[in-house]
Symmetry: C2
Amino acid sequence: MNLKQLAHMLALSQTTVSRALNGYPEVNEETRGRVMDAAKRHGYRPNPSARRLATGKSGMIGYVLPTGAAVDIDPHFVEFLSGLGDYARSHELDLVLSPTDADDQETTYRRIVANRQVDAVYISSPRPQDSRVALVNTLGIPFIVHGRSEGFDFDYPYLDIDNEGAFHEAARLLVQLGHRRLALINGDDRETFAIHRERGLRRALAASGLALEDRHVCSLVMTEENGYRAARRLLEQDGAPTAIACSSLIMALGVVRAVRDLGLSIPGDVSLIAHDDVFPWLKPENFSVPLSTTRSSIRLAGARIAERLAARISGLEEGARGEVWPVDLVVRGSVAGAPA
Amino acid sequence: MNLKQLAHMLALSQTTVSRALNGYPEVNEETRGRVMDAAKRHGYRPNPSARRLATGKSGMIGYVLPTGAAVDIDPHFVEFLSGLGDYARSHELDLVLSPTDADDQETTYRRIVANRQVDAVYISSPRPQDSRVALVNTLGIPFIVHGRSEGFDFDYPYLDIDNEGAFHEAARLLVQLGHRRLALINGDDRETFAIHRERGLRRALAASGLALEDRHVCSLVMTEENGYRAARRLLEQDGAPTAIACSSLIMALGVVRAVRDLGLSIPGDVSLIAHDDVFPWLKPENFSVPLSTTRSSIRLAGARIAERLAARISGLEEGARGEVWPVDLVVRGSVAGAPA
DNA sequence: ACAGTCTTCCAAAGCGCTTTGGCTTTGTTG
DNA sequence: CAACAAAGCCAAAGCGCTTTGGAAGACTGT
């Protein structure tokens, strides 16, 4: 059942039917009623291929998915996706993933924009002066950055959490508890979120006349194994830290294992705070010692980004609006006063 | 730059240019050369919207993503996606995710097929007599099931791992080591994979005149917390099992925690084997006691499915070919002889 | 009653590609 | 050399929708 047939059986022109269906004003409400009704009765659904050829709109949002033998997709992605789906589901928005060689994302962005394959894109895990942000900004497609880039001479729309504030608060708490030697087990420090977290931690220390020693900072891909390695390295040093801030729950698993292997205890010998993106399958309160966290639901962020992208597509949102969400500090058993 | 312009500057008809570009035989090779050359030089890329309106082919594969407030996307999905991307990346295949109310996937399948939004779909986490499989089969779109359904009067193409064989082997090993009371911590037992694993385990036990007691079987969503709960329940019983087979590495984390909480040890008091889908961020060899596993890379499965879908789209693969991959049993420190 | 203004609808022109059917031109064959 | 086939190319008709530029009829005010 296509427009032509529908129009014919209504004894109307395609124009009128099309307009009636799409809510244009120049059609009699009574006629619109008839059209809507017939459309529903016959299960008419406009052909999206035709519509997109005519309008250039696809009703989809895009994400360039960096892949490659040496590239692992972040498990956080699933949670983000859940959130995106939460919104998209009720708005008939689809998401198209364009897998791309991680080193050549630019070509793909250009392609999907030139081809009008999607109406908007989002960018995740941005770095300072991220070339993707600059590119997409000039390409003129609606977009939102999940996270933040830095060092541009233009503004752009983003949604980020207050990573700096989160780790600032976490560190402040630890310092208050008497800790003097803090350590940071961070994610890839080429990414902005990691930079912000380190900054927040440093700022809190500086406020008390303390400093973060370089040897107390680790920056690694966020796996359990790397958490373990980092923690061992830190804790086996002379002048080992008495408190660790950790950028991920998965790494924290490794940290806990390392602490145990070394015959130490949490929080007796070392306090631990990790960032929690809120996974349904791994909860900080269920760690052998309940884990203190800085918490922010990445799933909610996914939903919000879908919402904002939809708003941008339909022109309801404009300009370079940045949105920064506060992060909860949730104190549980894994922090205590510094050992004497 | 569109076809019309390109044809005009080559002083050829659109027909010929189109045919030259798409490898049709009725065009002189010399002409084809000229066309190809000019196309490349001017960076001509056919407009996919137009092409798909004309051909009905979209160059995308689809996945209906069940979502909802109570629905969590499986973290395995990310690894599967990595694999899919590994193949898709080099073949300009995009993946479109259609988020859908988990209870109403059928509508979405009908929609994406009716709309010709994608050229093929895959289905994951199938259950016996899964309605999605039956539906998609009748809709006539190329598809592959990741996993297996059962109880149909038709065959269908799938890729699955030998879950039954895997858990059969695992159980056989445990029995050989003298274990008499095995337990199973399984995933959602409405899904085929879980049924197959239980079947494999039962079969191995039966071969030695043993049986799997109902109270020794747990079926839960695969989270760390559920692993913990299940293990506690099992191990606090009278006649507690001396060996546990577990369907997921994430649950195994919880099992290990429970064992520790109960003052027991692995493998002294209880042996543990888990299924490992191979995550980059959580490795069985790094468990406090290295974990024995049945191992099969879900990422490779993703790549293979993409490959087969592409083959089906282009007509290279036909019929209801089922493909079952063997599963490795990797023995590490978490299994030992049954306690006396 | 007449010009002017809405309101409501329509015919037709795209959007950019593929594909059908046919027309030349060249080559082959008896 | 006429007859036929094959090779190489083209014009035009879709694919199914949106949108432009009117046109006809109904309504207004004078």
